[in-house]
């Protein structure tokens, strides 16, 4: 698993993926921070992180489009799947590499926290809760999009499908507040990756929602392993 993790992480930086992801993430993050905090003279980091949460659905496909679909297209998957490394090890290694890039991008937003601390006031506990929810939400999108990548034959197809599914997940959020049926609204709200992140962005350390995100990540990883294994039987 360590070999897969190291190669995947190197690959993000040898190709343009990590730079594009981090560049767009920080550029848009700067806009959100400039408008929401600097111009408004606000120390509200949680509001900033809530807005940043919408970036995941647009940007995680950049990290995941090559993860499996690219390997399949270039036939390098043959090297991995004929090696003595288990499918679980391959999937975990690739996920952790993607999560490392994602965490690296999040860590760079620490600059905004520093600026806020210098010119305003930062409540560490509240900020940590906000960041925990923000990272868990990003990792959940990463795991979902990696599953989609495992199901596609070409990176572009994987990126388009990932974007579509991410947007559909965002629509669930919109629908949950729009539908009048309370049961349907509650169900949609319960599965929404945005609603589940909301308590963190209110400064609450929500164990139930943290477990929900971890469960989504675990389920997606499991389904990715099953998808890759099923391909051996169907191809």
């Amino acid at each position: 698993m360590l070999a897969i993790y190291k190669r995947e992480l190197q690959s993000y930086f040898f190709t343009a993926s990590a730079y594009v992801f981090m560049g767009v993430f920080l550029a848009l993050g700067s806009v959100f921070y400039a408008v929401g905090n600097l111009a408004a003279q606000s120390s509200d980091l949680l509001g900033f992180l809530w807005n940043m949460g919408y970036l995941w659905m647009l940007l995680t496909p950049i990290l995941t489009m090559h993860t499996y679909a690219g390997e399949r297209k270039s036939r390098t998957d043959q090297l991995l799947f004929t090696s003595p490394v288990s499918l679980t090890g391959i999937v975990a290694g690739k996920f952790l590499a993607g999560a490392t890039v994602l965490l690296g991008a999040v860590a760079l937003t620490g600059v905004y926290v520093l600026v806020t601390a210098v010119y305003g006031r930062v409540y560490p506990g509240e900020a940590l809760c906000g960041y925990l929810g923000f990272v868990l939400q990003g990792c959940a999108f990463l795991a979902i999009d990696q599953l989609i990548s495992a199901r596609c034959r070409a990176p572009v197809t994987a990126a388009v499908w990932s974007l579509g599914v991410n947007l559909a997940l965002w629509l669930l959020d919109v629908l949950s507040s729009a539908v009048s049926l309370s049961f349907v609204s509650r169900v949609l709200g319960a599965v929404s990756l945005y609603m589940r992140a909301a308590p963190f962005q209110e400064g609450q350390l929500s164990l139930a929602n943290a477990l929900y995100f971890l469960a989504v990540i675990g389920l997606m990883q499991f389904l990715t392993v099953r998808t890759l294994d099923a391909r051996r039987w169907s191809e």
Partner: protein, 307 residues
């Protein structure tokens, strides 16, 4: 070393390979022959665990590939038809990664990479990016990756396809050296390559084994064919040759020089003494006598003929 027991692979209602059963002994070099679409790549993909069979069982070194994939795959080195290369990596990084995948101890990796690079002629290429290499060198990197972990079994899928004649000759030479002490299975539709490298051949046709024999035995089973050049009159010579004991048929070939008859003798047993006695009696000197073995190409074409 390798056993294939009743391997079948179906795609929907179509079987890519059907009921393949054979074993490959330790140290043997097996050539898998077949036309395009005969099932060679599917068979090799199943042999390396890349594909799962619809039915049947594969073992490598006694380990079931489905039940003990880790142990079985440690014994394998695989070079697919398209070498699995990461273009953005250097050759050294690619080989290091392949060593790590094959669970080579970290401290041994630099030495192991240097040794493999030496064997495959990549010593001067270690710092180059894989994406910038020529087709021949890319093939060598693919082979070097397959050798990482010093596997007992090498599986090569059409390893020389797309190489120019010089690269092909060099690659075959490297393969011949690497095959020493290893079990090698490779597929090809280049018959001369199989003849040059293999001790045994399996011919696949429509996903089924139509021939599984030792190459020498296969050729000798086809009978002994001799090409003779004799100075003399063809009208007297041919009927006399047909009367020779052990000669099944005599075919006149175009004359190689004025007054020199060239004939092809299809024999059940070596007729040298009888032939010599006959020619002495006829006062016709024998200029040349050489074995004209039934070529693999003929055997292959006959076994894979449609209808």
């Amino acid at each position: 070393m390798i056993t294939f027991s009743g391997i079948t692979k179906r795609y929907g209602g179509t079987a890519a390979v059907s009921d393949l059963s054979f074993t490959v002994d330790r140290g043997e070099t097996l050539g898998l022959l077949g036309q395009n679409g005969a099932g060679k790549t599917t068979a090799l993909s199943i042999m390396t665990g890349y594909l799962a069979p619809s039915a049947g069982r594969v073992t490598i070194g006694g380990h079931d590939l489905m039940a003990e994939p880790r142990q079985a795959k440690r014994l394998l080195g695989y070079l697919p038809e398209v070498p699995p290369l990461y273009d953005e990596m250097t050759v050294r990084a690619a080989l290091r990664f392949a060593c790590e995948l094959k669970l080579v101890v970290a401290a041994d990796i630099p030495g192991h990479v240097a040794e493999i690079a030496e064997k495959t002629g990549l010593r001067d290429m270690l710092g180059r990016r894989v994406g910038n290499l020529s087709k021949g060198y890319r093939q060598r990197v693919g082979l070097a990756q397959a050798l990482c972990g010093d596997p007992e079994v090498l599986v090569l899928d059409e390893p020389t396809s797309g190489l120019d004649p010089r690269q092909t000759a060099e690659f075959r030479q490297t393969l011949r050296q690497l095959a020493q002490g290893r079990t090698v299975v490779f597929s090809s539709h280049i018959l001369s390559e199989v003849q040059a490298l293999c001790s045994r051949v399996i011919i696949l046709h429509h996903g089924r084994v139509v021939c599984d024999q030792n190459l020498k035995a296969l050729q000798s089973a086809e009978g002994l064919r001799l090409r003779a050049e004799i100075r003399g009159d063809k009208k007297r010579l041919l009927p006399a040759l047909r009367e020779l004991p052990g000669v099944r048929s005599v075919t006149a070939l175009p004359d190689t020089a004025p007054g020199v008859c060239s004939v092809l003798l299809d024999c059940l047993q070596p007729p040298e003494k009888a032939l010599f006695d006959l020619l002495c009696g006829l006062h016709m000197p024998l200029i040349r006598l050489q074995e004209a073995q039934s070529s693999l190409e003929e055997i292959f074409l006959r076994l894979t003929a449609e209808g």
